[in-house]
Symmetry: C2
Subunit: 123 residues, 2 copies
DNA sequence: CTCCTTAAGTATCGTTTAGAAACCACGTTG
DNA sequence: CAACGTGGTTTCTAAACGATACTTAAGGAG
């Protein structure tokens, strides 16, 4: 079976669209440290709205990357956990965030340089 | 210096927002195979619009991940290439796309299972 | 001479999506 | 009694996206 991420209708491309998303990555990374409840996740992943969090979790659940477990307590408790399949992704996500941390200074310097040049040109 | 990708205003989080984008990933991956001109890139990365391609390239250039070189031919020729800094990212992106290709069958099966259950519940 | 083409974009739309905030049931707590 | 926490859905608005048309400038077809 031949896959091609550049092809618009290739399944791997669709999957990449799902994974290459800031919220999905952050959520998976957070869940890789241990299962979590909805609101805890919401507090930890700063800036995500309830709507988007539930949407992304639903998609990740559909893809078999996280599980959703409901406990009939009052109020209801819902626990999200990463699946073994999802776990196989976490090292890659960790590599990406590690890269971001390590190379942040270079990026910020490149931005200053770019913005400086842009300003000079604009003047 | 302490970074935290979960924090909304952390530089690494902003960088992750930039990288964790389907177009940015695909473009960087494509450029990791060699420099390319604008329209070739547009044809290769299926489904991207001119507007978004130029926007994403501009941001990647600002971040120092790609270079843009203009040749004063007629019509003008513009060549995009990945920088050494950008090259250090390609292995991670390659890992992600490889993961997508390898695990696609599991994902698709999970989706079928999920959709089947959803249908049963709806009935 | 006029129309058409290429290249690498910009400008302008209409539509989709994301995000902020309100609302929901439910039982507990002050 | 009013407010709070849970895990969401609904509503509304603002931002992003995608499709199309336009731009500049030179070369070729008719």
């Amino acid at each position: 079976m031949e896959f091609n991420v550049y092809a618009e209708n290739c399944p791997t491309r669709m999957l990449l669209d799902r994974l290459a998303d800031k919220w999905a990555m952050l959520i998976l990374k957070r869940l890789s440290d241990g299962k979590m409840r909805f609101n805890q996740l919401r507090r930890d992943v700063e800036g995500i709205s309830q709507k988007v969090l539930s949407q992304v979790l639903k998609k990740l659940e559909r893809d078999g990357l996280v599980t959703r477990t409901v406990f009939p307590t009052v109020p209801v408790t819902v626990e999200y956990a990463i699946t073994p399949l999802g776990q196989t992704l976490t090292s890659t996500i960790a590599a990406l965030t590690l890269w971001a941390e390590e190379n942040m200074p270079h990026i910020m310097e490149a931005q200053r340089r770019y913005d400086g040049v842009a300003l000079t040109e604009a003047a």
